[in-house]
């Protein structure tokens, strides 16, 4: 609890210094949080270039809001609230239709993952791409808020309270979102992970 509280003070303290005109603190916040924000947005919108553009907008808004910033919540709550809002807005406009088309196309547009120290075989690569495409489709098939809740819960390791604050709903609503999402994902993905 003490460590978490210290983390809250650390980021909020840095943001308060940004409010006072300290650009170095903004650079520190950017360095710490840009990868998590970009990765979160990427998994929501599933396009790398768009994810980086939206992430830039997130930090632009953080910087723009510096003079009125008040640490009423954890800094990451505020940050991910902005990120979620921008990403869900993007998904809701006509661009998301293009994304659906892309998911049905070939392999994703980034380098293949090394599955072990040895060079992966062609079969390994194909298997990996197929599994990845299935995961992406399953997540993309979730309603937007369920999708955002799962990504925050799984990849950002946020608890229900924080996810609720990001999404602007109650803790029980978040649990409902998550458990319905996981139920859907179990139906679509459980066969993949059985060992």
């Amino acid at each position: 609890m003490g460590v978490v509280a210290a983390a809250l003070d650390y980021d909020a303290e840095l943001m308060l210094r940004v409010k006072d005109g300290d650009g170095a603190s903004f650079a520190l916040l950017l360095e710490k949080h840009r990868a998590p924000v970009i990765h979160f947005v990427y998994r929501l919108v599933q396009e790398q270039a768009v994810a980086e553009e939206l992430a830039q907008e997130v930090f632009l808004r953080v910087y723009r809001s510096r003079s009125s910033y008040e640490p009423t919540a954890k800094f990451t709550t505020w940050l991910f609230r902005i990120a979620t809002h921008l990403a869900l807005n993007w998904l809701r406009d006509e661009k998301h239709e293009r994304m659906q088309e892309r998911l049905d196309d070939g392999p994703p547009d980034f380098p293949a993952r090394e599955v072990s120290d040895r060079r992966p075989s062609v079969e390994d690569q194909l298997m990996y791409q197929a599994r990845l495409a299935e995961v992406r489709r399953a997540v993309a098939g979730l309603p937007e808020k369920q999708r955002a809740a799962v990504l925050m819960h799984k990849y950002e390791e946020m608890d229900y309270v924080q996810i609720a604050k990001v999404l602007g709903c109650s803790e029980s609503a978040v649990k409902s979102l998550l458990f319905r999402a996981y139920e859907t994902l179990r139906a679509r993905l459980a066969h993949m992970g059985r060992i």
Binding site: E13, G21, G23, A24, A27, L28, E31
Partner: protein, 173 residues
């Protein structure tokens, strides 16, 4: 006539507005009155850095290797997050250090780097010795340096660290 007066009046308001707008956006470049010159230099370096735009800072940092740039960011963070008392105490120590002639300043830097490499328990012992020696008059201090106990207690490197830091650093309060 009335329209001319209105025009001049409005122009005067505009002039006042333009001046106050530019004045309000002009950051205070001069340090507060009464600060020692060395503190002004310290403040000037770090404060001017903090007042640069993020892109200017990034441009500067991009000229350095990434690991040096990262270290600067982390050290700035440490300095900026110190409480005012800690910052003030550090400024005092920096003041004495900055006023040293260049050769002695380099000596102190070297000794502090060597000090940093010592094991923690030796650092504490060496620091305590420096504190003690600073309180002694010159003659007693010299006698201490030449004593068998001093030689036996510290390595040659530690003895040099102690002597130079006692000589050149201001006592801490």
């Amino acid at each position: 006539m009335r329209s001319v007066l209105l025009q001049f009046g409005f122009a005067a308001v505009l002039a006042a507005g333009a001046c106050s707008l530019s004045g309000a956006q002009q950051p205070a470049e001069q340090p507060p009155a009464g600060q020692p010159a060395v503190e002004q230099r310290l403040n000037a370096v770090l404060d001017r850095w903090n007042k640069m735009s993020p892109e200017e800072r990034e441009r500067e940092l991009a000229k350095l290797p990434p690991e040096r740039a990262r270290r600067i960011r982390l050290l700035l963070h440490r300095y900026n997050l110190m409480n005012p008392q800690e910052q003030q105490a550090l400024r005092q120590r920096y003041r004495t250090f900055s006023e040293l002639p260049q050769a002695e300043k380099e000596t102190v830097r070297q000794r502090l780097r060597e000090f940093r490499q010592l094991p923690r328990e030796r650092q504490v012992t060496v620091h305590a010795e420096v504190d003690e020696l600073r309180r002694l008059p010159d003659a007693q201090r010299q006698a201490r340096y030449e004593s068998a106990e001093f030689r036996g207690r510290y390595s040659p490197q530690e003895r040099q660290i102690i002597k130079d830091l006692t000589e050149y650093l201001e006592p801490e309060k």
